[in-house]
Symmetry: C2
Subunit: 491 residues, 2 copies
């Protein structure tokens, strides 16, 4: 086991925390609940951002930036919204410090009290819809398809690196439309973008569906989500896309002039993914030997380690290594050649395995003679000897194979951990013995959902869209149901 990493079997939560810290991805800061994202972790987040940003732009969205502060009164305008967020807000009350009268340090200057307190955005619907009021006059101004990359703050009591932190980084899309249909179409389009990103880039299969009313975003008419299954059998909500109806348009009085010259309220969506995806990525693939990062998101995709005893051997190996590096880079593959002499090859092998670099190439003097390299893949830990010839194409295909294997492995895991439960006993037994997704009938009431949550900690992760209709009885109340929903314990 690498670097005293707790094994998943021993303590999954500890394994995760160890891994995040020992792989230098993030750490807790001096400020309660806030993390420092270290360069190794941030490099992965940057790749995620870059891909998502491209996908948003390809679907017609543009970026903008709105203030971090929200006047307190804005929150109260949308009743559900304030209910959902008021309990976890960081509140700015003053705008100045002064020297402490006792000469020790600084204190808040009571003369610099704000007339109205400012909330640090936990999400930006209110400040953005207050702004949209002046941007939207007529149907010609619609649709408005805007995204922002920003930090947000939610004062969580129990925090975990990446998964739940007081401050986190995210993107939040806020769009405005002339019709209900168009807004719903947008909500679903973004859900597809999120699912595609999770599956194609993170190699993480997701279920798509609708949240039950209990789990809906505060202020939304419908919340769509993608849910992934982690290796401990718990679900992780990985992205949400909200159809907001006319709720925020009414709260902020945003109307537009239709082609027929009538004033109508605007229809809205909002949607977001956050640094929480980093947690999902880590938990979806990594093992007891350390991180496993899908090649498409790995900042370093290939590392080349020279094996040598004498300096002249290193010189000859370096020449070949740099040639390989160059040919891989010409294919858009990111390569690190680690010729540091302060560490031995064995140390480097362990290090890059732990850090999750998808492919390791080792070259020694005998390889040079034979015209070969040793190639090791991180996912299966298999090694093979490859000829120099066409090494760039071979590595390119290997990276694709690793990406595909990680997805297939995660998909099999999910399939093997998705079960039907038809009785309460079955439901509870599966939850306690196996975890995973459980497909079960539910009577559709918030009361039943709440009871199930209280008794088992399981929640409805989603109601499948276009799911199979099937008559059944609620596992809890025995009342009739038309469709199975997906339950799980969740992060």
């Amino acid at each position: 086991m690498a670097k005293d990493l707790t094994s998943r079997k021993e303590n999954y939560a500890q394994w995760y925390n160890d891994l995040v810290i020992k792989a230098d991805l993030a750490e807790n800061s001096a400020v309660r609940g806030c993390m420092v994202i270290k360069p190794t972790g941030y490099a992965i987040w940057e790749k995620m951002q870059s891909v998502l940003d491209g996908m948003f732009k390809a679907t017609g969205h543009v970026n903008a930036y709105f203030p971090i502060f929200i006047p307190k009164s804005f929150f109260s305008r949308e009743a559900d919204h304030v209910e959902g967020f008021a309990k976890e807000c960081a509140v700015v009350t003053h705008y100045r410090l002064k020297n402490s009268p006792d000469g020790k340090g600084v204190v808040v200057d009571d003369d610099a009290k704000l007339e109205e307190e400012l909330i640090i955005r936990p999400t930006s619907e209110t400040i953005i819809w207050d702004t949209y009021k002046t941007w939207i006059q007529s149907y010609r101004d619609l649709p408005l398809l805007i995204n922002q990359w920003a930090n947000v703050v939610r004062w969580e009591m129990r925090t975990r690196l990446f998964l739940r932190t007081a401050e986190f980084l995210w993107q939040e899309g806020h769009t405005a439309h002339a019709t209900k249909e168009e807004a719903i179409e947008e909500t679903e389009k973004i859900l597809d973008v999120y699912a595609e990103f999770a599956e194609e880039w993170m190699a993480m299969p997701v279920l798509k569906g609708l949240k039950s009313p209990n789990e809906r975003f505060a202020g939304a008419v419908e919340t769509y989500c993608i849910e992934a299954l982690m290796q401990d059998g718990k679900a992780l909500q990985s992205g949400t896309s909200h159809f907001l109806g006319q709720n925020f348009a009414k709260a902020f009085d945003v109307k537009y002039l239709t082609k027929e010259n009538k004033q109508e309220y605007v229809w809205a969506t909002s949607w977001g993914v956050s640094t929480r995806l980093m947690g999902a990525l880590i938990m979806a693939h990594s093992d007891d030997n350390g991180l496993i990062i899908p090649p498409k998101l790995a900042p370093t995709q290939v590392v080349i380690v020279p094996i040598y005893k004498k300096p002249e051997q290193l010189a000859a190996i370096s020449e070949k290594a740099l040639e390989i590096k160059k040919s891989l880079e010409s294919k858009g593959i990111s390569v690190k050649f680690d010729d540091r002499d302060i560490h031995k090859p064995g140390w480097k092998f362990a290090e890059y395995e732990f850090k999750g670099v998808p492919v390791r190439i080792a070259i020694g003097p005998r390889d040079l003679e034979n015209g070969t390299v040793e190639v090791a893949r991180r996912d299966t830990q298999e090694k093979e000897i490859l000829q120099f010839q066409d090494i760039d194409t071979k590595i390119e295909h290997l990276l694709e194979a690793i990406q595909d294997n990680l997805y297939q492995k995660a998909l099999s895991f999910r399939e093997n951990n998705t079960r039907k439960a038809d009785t309460w006993e079955e439901f509870v037994n599966i939850l306690d013995d196996q975890g995973g997704f459980i497909l079960a009938h539910w009577d559709g009431t918030a009361e039943t959902e709440q009871k199930i949550k209280e008794e088992t900690k399981a929640t409805i992760r989603l109601i499948p869209i276009d799911g199979k209709m099937e008559d059944g009885k609620c596992i809890y109340s025995g009342k009739p149901s038309k469709q199975r929903v997906v339950f799980a314990r969740a992060y």
Copy 2:
């Protein structure tokens, strides 16, 4: 004059504000002093970010992310630093709201008062050096070359879009080094990066130099800066790079083990540029007809406008226009083909001129017959007729010529507005009649600098690095001086 834009001559400040708002770059928000950066403005900022980020990475830096909150006590650790920033801090005192007892809205929950107040970062030296304490143990951990892209808050009383706002976006580099020499080298290297970015990308010539002690960053040993001259003869500080000595290492007790096995304090630098650069970019080049954006930073570099009366004409023109668009795009040029039928060509011409698109191509039926297009450049407003053949290369060269012309024009302006003053009378007359940079002798004291500022509002913008040594007398005190420094009124 476009869109009721106030002319520069009439009221330069109003011209600037009109332009920022009417060109849809940014606007004031509902929160005092905070701006909304609109999609058009944000697209330029994104280009700036992308170029700068590449330059930082090319010089060995990596990105990370540190918390937005700084515990109040951290500020007091470095005496100059707290003095410089305590007066303009947003302070978080509570972490929860609750329903108002009168049932109207929400109020701050007094039960949720923080034990220690949190400051929203005005800059991150303190939280970062508190973190570096655990990251740095030995010389092997150095240098640490980290940058972060973030929002910061300084509670400015008088704000102006982009130039001075309570919240702004920036990058802040924070590096740690084993030796003083290496830290100074880093400080100067970054100054060169900033100058290169300003000159090569923004087409904005800058002076490089050192700040006087009065104008130094709070906590720095030396502050290096780049200063540009705006069209109204006022200077604009466009970037700063600070040599922090061991001040923050001592304040946060960050030591490292040297190769000789001794404990030494670490040497530090910090450096930043912000959305203020947007203000500089706008003011450096734009005119009474609207924005002028240097081609290298223009989100849309070329716009193609079809001129037609009948739909079949549009079809033929579109075919040609899309062909040109494709060939330009293959050269990496960003092109918009505006075939909207809701606006007439004249409207579009005015619009793109106002928005500062560097090159406009117009194509009408006669052009198709002749195998030509009409090309207009935004900077000089000259038009020419060009043959289809090799249009991509011609436009590529034209964009380069525009970039170069903007730089040369700004450089000539600065040269024509940089004057020597040898007496107080000369100094005051130049300031009042002409503005610009003034090269004058100064006795080197903070008192004289302060007096000059109080009497004229001019400050020392910088002390030239490697400037010519020359004996002279201080224009204010008459005391001896060894070198001229650069004075100006400034933003």
